[in-house]
Structure formats: structure tokens, C-alpha cells
Amino acid sequence: MTESQGMSGLSLDRPPLQKRLLAWFWDHKRVAAETTLFVSQRLVASFLVWLMVGMALTLPGLLWIAQSNLDAFAGQWQGKAGLTLYMKVGAPDAQISSLAASLAAEDRVQQVTLITPEQALQELRGQTDDSEFLRQALDAIDTNPLPAAFSLVLDDDASYLQLEALSRRLLTEPGVDDVVIQSTWLERLRDLSELARRGGTGLSVILLLAAVLVTFASVRLAIESRLGELHILGLVGATSGQMRRPFLYFGAAYGLGGGMMAIMLIAVFLNSIETPMRSLLLSYQLGIELAGFTGSFLLAVLFLGWLLGILGALLAMSQRLGGFSRGS
């Protein structure tokens, strides 16, 4: 030893706060570098952990996006709530014209569109391209079997009860055969949305727990592989925080990596369904863009991944590092 100072004096007090803060800073810097090295040296194993955590985060993420889009879809549908009114087959034109005028005069009705029997038949013929049997059946009949119909669009704020009341009243009009409330679909959509919400929540909890368990198992392995080092660190005066810090970083790294993996998987999935989904929505005259894959969503996925990683690490440390509290 070339320097003798400091070898004989003994201080049994904790160092001043400034020194401890400096040690804390250097330790974080060192642990961050060590974690980067650890992960990069075990890239395949780390990738597999990220993939597992990412897969566990992907389904909850997709369910959340699906939920957001169902809500948006339901909202847009609600704006077009209305009725379809079917006349009796062979109803006279005068009756149809009279009803059209009275419907247009209704307060709640925004728009009235008449679909004549001829238009309905033409539309039906247009849909028989794939069915030779149906085409032949339509050719075989002499008279048009389809009734005239009215498509009614109501005010945006029309409630389901108002739709029902109007529907009952219209059924009493002469020549009216049936009235179908379009918002029946809205109710179904809402039921579907609620089902997705409840089922998705349960499934998401299970998958998020799986993500915690994956990071728990990975951090526990890291602890096992460093027991010798922990033993030495305890003997040379590492605090509990200094012994635990590397594993918290591992947990955070696994969680963040898993979050990034989940974002990539969700992006790939959404990209693959975007075209058929848009086509489907357009067939319902709904020009909805897929919503939910926003900046705040990405941040939320990353934060959730980080949080689950930290939870897994804390779980592993509480189970495996308790014996090192005295440095033994």
C-alpha cells in the first residue's frame, strides 16, 4: 500500500447525505451500464424474455384497441339511428305518397328515403350474382314479390324509447306491414362491447400476471447466477439497496423490452387486418379509421411493461434476497 492515510481511523456513523447521494448516483450509473452489458451478452435469452412478456402484453393491448373502436363504432352508429318501414305488398301508390308526406312532417325524422318495389327487386337481383338458383327463381316469377319500404333517419339525440314509440305508432298507419328499428344492432353492438370489456378484463389480468411471472422467473435466475457476488457484496458493505438495484434494473429492462415487443406485435397485427376491416366497415357505410394506436397508448404499453417488470423483480427479490439482509 502506497498511501497510509485512512487505514487506522474507524467511523461507525453513516456518511453525510452528500456522500451517500454521490454513491447513489455512481451506483445507478454503474448498474445501468452493467445491465446493458448483461442483456447484450445474453441477447437470445433476453429476446425470448422480451417476446414472452410482449406476447402477454399484446392481447390486453389489442383488446383495449378493440374496445376503443367498438365504442367509436357504436357512437357513429348511434348518429344514424333510424327505422325501416315496410309497406304491405301491393300497397297503392296514393297510400305510399300520403305516408311519405306524413313521415317527412314528423319532428324527429331528419330524412325519408323511399325504396320502391322495383328498386328493391333491382337491388336483390344485383346480389344474386353468386347464386344461380336465386336468379332463376326471380326470373321465374311474374310479379314483384317485394314491398315498398321507407328508410328513416332520425335526429342524432333520438333515444331508443322514442324510436320504439314512433315504431308502434307507424305500425297503426294504413298499408304498413312492419317496422324494424335499426338500433337493435346498436343494442347488440353494445352487448358485444360489454362482453369484450368484461371478458377482456379477466383475460388481461391473467396475461399481465403471466408477464409478471416471466420477469419473476428471469430475475430469479439472474439472482441465482450472482449469489457468489451477492455474498461478497454483503461482506464488503453493500447496502440492501445496492444489492437489489441490479435486479430492479433487470426487471425494468425485461419489462420495457417486453413493452416494445408488444407494440411491434400489435402494429403488425393491426396492419394485417386494416384492409379487410376497412372494407367491412365501408360495407356498412361507416368510414371509421382504426383508433387507439396513439402516442399515449404506446407510452401506456411501455409504462405497463416497465411496471410489470419491476413487480416481477420485487417478487423475485423478496423471495431470494431475504437471507442477504445481514450480508450472510
Binding site: 500500500m1 502506497t2 451506483d27 454503474r30 461478497i232 454483503g234 464488503v236 445481514r326
Partner: protein, 230 residues
């Protein structure tokens, strides 16, 4: 008052066996002493009590006037940072270089990488391993590994050096080299306590010898000899 002091210390294990039995002793600051005795005599238990890894069942372990029991979990790490510990099996980390092994205790302190490097180089120079810093422990001989362990123990410039059978795996020549290092640290102001059963080596060191048998202190002798100073 002695610097290291055991006051009527008894250490009883969970199985009822006593590792130490009503042991009282005191070691002055800046001195070097040996604890001898057969396997199971209580040498390692005594060192563990001084490190704070184990607590006495009864009695007090007092260091520089402070009962170690009063330190608690918060202050214990800072106490341990002032102790250099040398173990028989070195406990070097196989996946770290010699340099990193020696640097391990310094990484806990508020030192920059530059300061750590300077002090590690100094410690390696002291044990004559300046050119081995980049090697891994498996590339070193047993004697060199033990010197790395010593460098790691003294790199923090500890006030106390506790060594448990530090020459157990070494030949007589290397054992004397290690002892010379301990004398050197003693001369620099550290209080050195070495547990060893190698009587032939110890009797040449000219130090105080505390002989344990079945957990009791049975002999306390002060020798004068060649190793008094180096």
C-alpha cells in the same frame, strides 16, 4: 479500552451447539494478532461476530467503543466497508477480471471510475500483481489468487483486516509472503486479526496468539520474533 473487544461472548447455534463459550478478549489498535485452534474451535465464528454477519447469543462485541448490536441494519454496511476480509477460498468472482474483482468494494463508495482505477492499481501493486489486472482468476496460480483476495480486502484502506485461514491453500514460501503483506498493513495502521491453524508459520511472526479450544479461549500469548516488522 481495546479497539476490538469481545465481552463474555457466547454464540450458540440453532442446533444447540456452542461455537463460542463465554469468550472475552481485547485487541489494541494497530496491532496484529493470530487466533489459533483446531477445526471447530471457534475461529471462524469469532471472525463472523466481528464482521457482524452473526450476532452473539449473549455478551457484547465492541469495536472502537461501539457495541455492534447497536449499529442496526442501516449502519452495518458502513461499518463493514472499514473491514478488509480475506478468506481461505478467496471468493473471487470467476467471470470478472482481477481488476474488477479488486474494484468490487470500491464500487459501493462515492468514487469516480478514475479514482477507483487509481486505487485498484495501487492495491495490485502492493501485492505485486500490477501486470495481472486484465486476467481472469482462472488464469492465476493459487498464490496469486490469494493475493488478489488480499488486494480486494485492502483496496478500501480498511481500519481492520480480518483473515480466515488465508494461507490454508498456500505453500510455506507463499504463506510467508502473505504474512509479510499483513505486517505491512499493520505498519500502515490497520488492526490485523488472522485465524490460522498453521502453528509453524504463526510462531515466527512475533505476534500475539489467542488459542481457542472447543469455543473457549484457553491461551493468550505474546511472542517476539522475526516477523515483528518487515
Amino acid at each position: 479500552m481495546a479497539f476490538l473487544e469481545l465481552q463474555h461472548v457466547t454464540r450458540r447455534f440453532d442446533n444447540g451447539q456452542e461455537g463460542l463459550s463465554d469468550v472475552s478478549l481485547g485487541i489494541e489498535q494497530g496491532t496484529m494478532a493470530f487466533i489459533t485452534g483446531h477445526s471447530g474451535a471457534g475461529k471462524s465464528t469469532l471472525l463472523k461476530l466481528l464482521i457482524g454477519v452473526e450476532a452473539p447469543t449473549s455478551g457484547r462485541v465492541v469495536v472502537d467503543g461501539c457495541d455492534l448490536r447497536s449499529l442496526g441494519a442501516k449502519r452495518m454496511p458502513w461499518y463493514r466497508r472499514q473491514i478488509g476480509i480475506v478468506l481461505q477460498d478467496h471468493n473471487l468472482l470467476p467471470d470478472r477480471t482481477v481488476f474488477d474483482n479488486v474494484a468490487l468494494p470500491l464500487q459501493l463508495s462515492p468514487l469516480s471510475a478514475k479514482d477507483i482505477a487509481r486505487r485498484v492499481r495501487g492495491a495490485l501493486s502492493t501485492v505485486d500483481l500490477s501486470d495481472k489486472g486484465s486476467l481472469f482468476p482462472r488464469h492465476l496460480s493459487t498464490g496469486e489468487q490469494q493475493r488478489v483476495g488480499i488486494a480486494r480486502a485492502v483496496v478500501t484502506r480498511p481500519s481492520i483486516i480480518l483473515a480466515d485461514e488465508p494461507t490454508g491453500n498456500l505453500d510455506p514460501f507463499l504463506s510467508r509472503q502473505v504474512m509479510a503483506l499483513f505486517h505491512q498493513f499493520r505498519d500502515l495502521g490497520s488492526t490485523v486479526l488472522v485465524a490460522s491453524h498453521d502453528i509453524d508459520l504463526i510462531k515466527d511472526q512475533g505476534c500475539r496468539i489467542l488459542h481457542l479450544s472447543q469455543g473457549s479461549l484457553v491461551q493468550d500469548t505474546q511472542l517476539a520474533g522475526a516477523g515483528e516488522s518487515s
